[in-house]
């Protein structure tokens, strides 16, 4: 295989903050998003994913500022997801600095959005985000950041979004997400081996070998992970910097900056972290040792030569 598999940190974002939960629930604040994206860029991340965790619920798009600040600092591709409902939403995110947008809820409600968007902006920047929950050997599609189940089979939906013109699929297994139990290899294989576009595996990475299995057994074209990286790189910060009492939403509500208890007094503590804590170079080295091609951990080196 002469094509490097991409390693992609996923940053779930609430307001200005990086948050992380388990199975898309119980999000705790870990710091400010751009601080993490700067580190991931320097550490050799191949792309980044920003997922706005509240946009889809409250129909707001607070992400533009964060995207704009990030785009000035990092020069690798950035995919943005969360609350994207229209061609105008996509245009605004691309202008702010996103390279690709990933769409879940609005695509399920109106599949034509995907084909229209692919026509206007090109397939290469339209990603279908599919969030699936495994149950009795079946995979159901969930929308609204894991709040709402719809009567659709995730594997059938994956085939359909390719026909609608998307250039890539971001495939998240909700039941594995945040647990560190490993990717859902069955789900990934069922999609990645049967569609013509690249598939990013997401949800469940907890150990080095999980990344390797996603590629070797799951046929993933890219591997995404959150907790393993976030908890490795997070630094102690003052909880006070994480509150946003002055900031207000358009409708006048204070911004909920998220649950900062973990930052404040280590609520739950590190014993409560269910994954290993891994650096990006360590993950890439493990993949390389397993015979998987990955890009050099920094742009300026050439270990992959």
């Amino acid at each position: 295989m002469n094509r490097p598999v991409r390693v992609i940190p996923r940053l779930d974002i609430k307001g200005p903050n990086l948050v992380k939960g388990i199975q898309l629930e119980g999000n705790r604040v870990l710091g400010v998003a751009e601080q993490f994206s700067d580190i991931y860029y320097a550490e050799g991340a191949d792309e980044l994913i920003y997922q706005d965790v509240v946009a889809s619920l409250y129909m707001r798009n607070s992400l533009l500022d964060v995207v704009q600040r990030t785009a000035k600092q990092i020069f690798i591709p950035l995919t943005v997801a969360g609350g994207i409902r229209s061609i105008d939403d996509i245009r605004a995110l691309l202008r702010a600095g996103a390279d690709k947008v990933a769409i879940n809820t609005a695509a399920v409600e109106n599949p034509k959005l995907l084909s229209e968007a692919a026509k206007v902006f090109g397939s290469q920047c339209i990603v279908a985000s599919i969030e699936a929950y495994g149950h009795n050997g079946k995979y159901q599609v969930w929308v609204d950041y894991g709040r709402q189940v719809v009567d659709m089979d995730a594997i059938e939906w994956a085939k359909r979004v390719v026909d609608l013109g998307v250039g890539e699929i971001l495939l998240t297994s909700i039941d594995r997400e945040g647990t560190g139990r490993g990717y859902d290899l069955n789900l990934i294989e069922k999609v990645a081996a049967h569609v013509s576009v690249p598939v990013i595996a997401c949800g469940g990475a907890g150990r080095e070998e999980d990344f390797i299995k996603a590629v070797k057994q799951g046929a993933a074209d890219a591997v995404s992970a959150a907790s393993v990286f976030h908890y490795n790189y997070m630094k102690p910060v003052s909880a006070h910097t994480m509150t946003f009492n002055d900031a207000r939403l358009r409708m006048g509500e204070p911004i909920d900056s998220g649950n900062i208890e973990f930052l404040k007094d280590g609520y739950g503590g590190f014993k409560d972290i269910m994954t290993d804590r891994l650096s990006i170079p360590a993950v890439k080295q493990a993949m390389r040792n397993a015979g998987i091609a990955v890009r050099g951990t920094r742009g300026m080196d050439h270990q992959n030569g």
Binding site: R6, D46, A71, F75, Q124, S196, H302, G305
Partner: protein, 217 residues
């Protein structure tokens, strides 16, 4: 004027990230669709993502097709990125045959899909000097790849590639599945790259810096 590069605005693609990357490389740029401003600029960058036909149509509708050709004839440096590279060619075979700018002789062809190869190619892939020419020194001296490591990796996202007719115009090649395609083309003052230098981390920024400051030796 201070600006070193005119980024052609013809209504396609995310040109702001290209501008941000030049900013980071210390090069002032301006975005314009104005004929006069383009022709007065010291260098021209032709961006582009999406379908070939739409790209040419937007150039035509903006009245910029001949402006780009005219600029290229002045001998000042031109750089086409991704679809911008493909538009430099004679013609494309994406969804039927469509004439391009014709600044570099050759066709634009689809990536061949064999085995489990995924198209579009999305991700990092390495450059190599053509014919494995690697006999010491910098094989890319005198090109925009000057000072960039042989086998350095760049970020690609494409389903088609440009195939320049003249072998000596193929500055760098890249392998994807059974495809060995030209990833950087250079004909005199005109250069095209299939990857996105603005998304290719340090090496990509180096290429943009080379372009903006004529650092080619």
């Amino acid at each position: 004027m201070d600006e070193r590069v005119a980024i052609v605005d013809y209504g396609v693609g995310n040109i702001f990230n290209i501008q941000r990357a030049f900013d980071s490389a210390g090069a002032k740029t301006f975005i314009t669709g104005d004929r006069k401003k383009i022709l007065e600029a010291p260098r021209l960058l032709l961006p582009g993502v999406g379908a070939f036909e739409a790209g040419m149509r937007h150039l035509d509708e903006s009245g910029l097709t001949d402006v780009v050709r005219e600029f290229a004839r002045t001998g000042k440096p031109v750089l086409g990125i991704c679809l911008g590279m493909q538009l430099l060619m004679t013609r494309s075979h994406e969804n039927g045959v469509r004439e391009g700018l014709g600044l570099i002789g050759g066709e634009v062809l689809p990536l061949k899909i064999t085995g489990s190869l995924k198209v579009p190619q999305i991700g990092w892939n390495s450059l190599r000097a053509p014919n494995g020419a690697n006999g010491g020194g910098d094989p890319w001296r005198g090109t925009l790849l000057s000072g960039i490591d042989v086998s350095s990796e760049m970020y690609f996202i494409h389903s088609y590639y440009a195939a320049p007719e003249v072998p000596s115009e193929r500055v760098a090649m890249t392998e994807y599945g059974d495809n060995l395609f030209c990833s950087v083309v250079k004909k005199g003052n005109i250069t095209g790259c299939q990857f996105h230098p603005e998304r290719s981390s340090e090496w990509g920024l180096k290429l943009l810096k080379n372009f903006a400051f004529d650092e080619v030796n």
